[in-house]
Subunit: 238 residues, 6 copies
């Protein structure tokens, strides 16, 4: 049994609150249960140095956690003077996931930075970040379309969303919360598009190694969950 | 006339949302109009090195802004590798303000860290932080009282709240928003207790120097505003 | 056709030079074709703070590249003052992979640090690192066994090795070199044990998303390649 | 009674040694009793990036303390790798204070950096710094005037000087030395111009909050003291 | 008697393995006994900012040690976030030594960076680095000559090589290994050209001060040793 | 002819102002002409970690330059966030030089830190630092002797002083000032004891290599100069 009483293939309640920030060109407070992430999209009218005069733009991401987003207060990365390895891993993953569904030429020589800041954490912050970042990105592109800068449908090729699956108490389950995550034997994150293409897979054995069959089961769970997330994204921006 | 249409002695709408974070011992989302700050109180069962075996505890604060809390995205301090001078100034101010109304001996050898993270900024983030931090601190102490660790009324000697005043378009006004703040000739922050004692005064001439009379007027505005804030704090924790 | 003329399921020539370093308790220069990584194992007679008095030890890894290991000279991380996100990602991966086949209780309260330093890079530095690190770890444990500190077979539960696979020019291929890696549409790294258990999977779409079928083909390629690497490890330590 | 035997409204002996440094365009060793600060003004023929092509120049300040300027040796900030919060607070204050009396357009697109380095500390280092910095700035402008770069009287609109006041042993006193400073209940720094305008006020309750009346008394003490400092500045540059 | 059984004027076996790295424009694995240093030369088609438009190029060096190059594992400088004083001292020395025999005008507005990375250390890493760096530099210039960028004989004015000498067990000896180095009373490093000119001398009393006579003896030993090293360099590039 | 009109073997006017700092256990403002360095000695009642329970103490040094000690303002190392290579080289040299004449066992488990801060620079800051540091150290030990902590003559085995020599305009000269230093072909620093023993030699060819004969001449000049400095030290502490 799952600590939350959820069924093995049941995700937590997911919600998107668009326009959470009055300043950002696009923003969204995404909630996967008690995991709350604020995603903002910031447009800059210049591209990184390595893309100057290439006609291409760039989409990048930064990730952070408020010090007391977690059960125990963590040190503030600004105070320790560097971003930890986990932070860097996650923000690189978010950036890659978004770029997989963006046409950088259609964006033009501009940069969009998606900041994903975890207000409250309860497992799955990276998957919530990716899923919410898509909304912030969409709204930013809409903002740009309203100013005749781009056509949304030309820049944004598809949806992208992410979910974690894992083996908890010998059972494959979807969307692990913190209690499950810290006890799971295997933990995998899947990033997929609206069309069902796979963008990123990260699977890790926390305890004993896992089998190909177990992994297939996790992928199937993820496929269904991500389809549901994409539906929710569509409703949110409808 | 003020850009917001407010009267010279009219503060923005102020609200406190207690228990915003499920993990922290005390937490509060404070809003001064469009300035939103999440204040969390984290209890640690140890005191800083210089207070070991003194019987005294410590209250400290950290301050941060989400990168897109502002109109233009700012660089993430965790990524630049250091906290700027403004950040450090503000977090030192918040810490001093709270310690002014805490009996550190009654707290015992423990440390409470108040994190003030600006979710959205529109002027007055430091005054909102101090005012909201008091609520987070109160709730943390209540949490401790519920576990027989302290008596709230022995540790918390009074309320503390803060407001900015300034001279905008030649008129003394209270609670400057960003538009006013960036155009004000003089800008002053006041921190006072529930009993009306002054904890901190910071007055700065942004353009031409100001006179003692002007400063007195600002202080009078602040006194009234802070009295109102203290009333709101009392209602919030009632 | 692959630039190197290799068949799609053909790995580069792999070799292990044990005892490359006279100081380390275990060491190995591993070569996957033109990718050369020096792996050293260093034993310390203490465990990290969070394991004190737990009876458990720890295995960790650090990763680095010489500035001119690559086609273009990269900035020295010691000079820039921080380890990049990619470096941190890789060293965390190496550490997790090794811990998956180590019994930390049987190791006792000691720490073994595996340094993987890339002398020359031509794609696949992380997979070569993991595969060579196992040899260095084995030799370190043998060194300890010679001093009656541990029994190798109790600490080292299995082999672990890693290989990359990817889709290059529309074909699934194994063990990508730099030319392939920089042009691949999909890139995946697999870490598996001698018994065939999966320890880690990382799959990334560089261009268009990939399908589950494509991923299965890559995993099959990896399974065969890793079996071959484990055989080579066995020969090396025989 | 004050530890030094001074009367409550009696400042320490103040002196200015102009031209202390042979290299700087302007320099001054200022002494407030045993507090000795070397102020140097360095001219650069360029303005900060945000003022390029604005026709305006900039005046900024940096502050530092020699490690053994204090009773206990402090860690060298260059060795710890960052400037502390107090250092940043003070150097921002010095810069703002000087800019309050400078016409940045008359200065033209140039930058003057005032370095205030505390050779020996005995309380009041920030007020001595501001007061001495004015002399260094004056001499730098004179140096420029001698090269037909500016007219001093057009750039330098007024004097600026600073003094601390506080409540020590229940009595309002001026110009606190270290012994007084560390025991004062209230500590306030005032920065004023030659014309008596207020540039900056910083008042802090170290122990119990203070009243408006107490603050008025401190401001009156400061007003007299600063008038005296301005007279001394005038004599120094006469 | 020397721990290695060498005669007082006998250097360790010295070898140069050219072309050790497939990417670098010049490279050499130099061995002085068990001290192994990989030297790579990297050409960049730009000169440092202070030489722009001067017609001159620049030769610089960086130095590093793999963490387990030594008997005890040292902290990785990339992880600690800064290069230690010893590292900086050595890399500055290598750069100066090479520039002493290079005609920077004949090089043209280009920069060559020599990376000296210690793979294994047994005393004398800086002298091995300088001696091997000359080979890497030579090969880089040959590479450039092959592309009609420079004439080697116009850029490279002479050989440069280095050796340590010291007083060990009251006897002047050449080319100290680690055991000797850590017990030597006096330790001196000499850098000389093929023509016998002195480029750099660094002599340090580790225990009691040394005399001018002792120093002369060390210099004589060094002169002979460096002549031998230059002969070996000539054979290596013949 | 030397720019200053000095004879080739004539040092600049040297003076020591003892007790320059009221806080330090020992202090000295040393002047070699226009080079002014403040040396302070700070006693701590603990030894570094690697000497705990060894019965031995430690003497170490830190070096810094005020930003405008030089003709052009240099960046403040505290602001750039690290000490440069030159700074580290010099402070290591000062520390070694002092330890050469201190009996660390007689000092007992204490640490003395000598801070050498350059107030004004005109060449030869490292040699002035060493020479002045001896005075600060002496006075610190006297302070300790006055409290029955040590016997000065047991801890301080000898004098130590330093001077630079170089070849300027084809002539060997002593005690180079900045004009000479920046044009010298060869630059050498010598550190010797009162008894004439050599503690440290650093010779560098800035332009063309130098000969053994030239170096001998420099050493002879240095020997005479240092003897004179030791005499001045003796007078200063008499």
């Amino acid at each position: 049994m799952r600590p939350s009483g959820r069924k093995t293939d049941q995700m937590r309640k997911v919600s998107f609150e668009r326009g959470f920030s009055k300043h950002a060109e696009g923003s969204c407070l995404v909630k996967f249960g008690d995991t709350h992430v604020l995603c903002t999209a910031s447009l800059e009218d210049k591209t990184p140095p390595w893309l100057r005069n290439s006609g291409k733009g760039w989409v990048t991401a930064e990730y952070g956690m408020l010090p007391r987003a977690t059960g125990e207060r963590m040190k503030r990365e600004a105070a320790t003077g560097k971003q930890g390895g986990r932070t860097q891993e996650i923000q690189r993953l978010i950036g890659r996931s978004l770029r997989a569904i963006v046409d950088l030429e259609a964006l033009g020589e501009r940069q969009i930075t998606i900041d994903c800041d975890v207000i409250q954490a309860d497992g799955g912050t990276r998957t919530a970040s990716i899923t919410g970042a898509w909304i912030a990105l969409y709204d930013c592109l809409k903002w740009m379309e309203g100013r005749n800068m781009v056509k949304v449908e030309r820049v944004l090729k598809d949806h992208v969303a992410a979910i974690s699956c894992g083996i908890f108490a010998n059972q494959p389950v979807i969307d692990l919360d913190y209690l499950e995550d810290s006890a799971a034997e295997t933990d995998a994150n899947f990033v997929m598009t609206g069309a069902g293409g796979i963008v990123e897979i990260q699977g890790t054995a926390e305890g004993k190694p896992f089998t190909e069959e177990e992994f297939s089961t996790l992928m199937q769970l993820a496929r269904n969950g991500i389809a549901e997330l994409v539906t929710l994204q569509k409703q949110a921006v409808a």
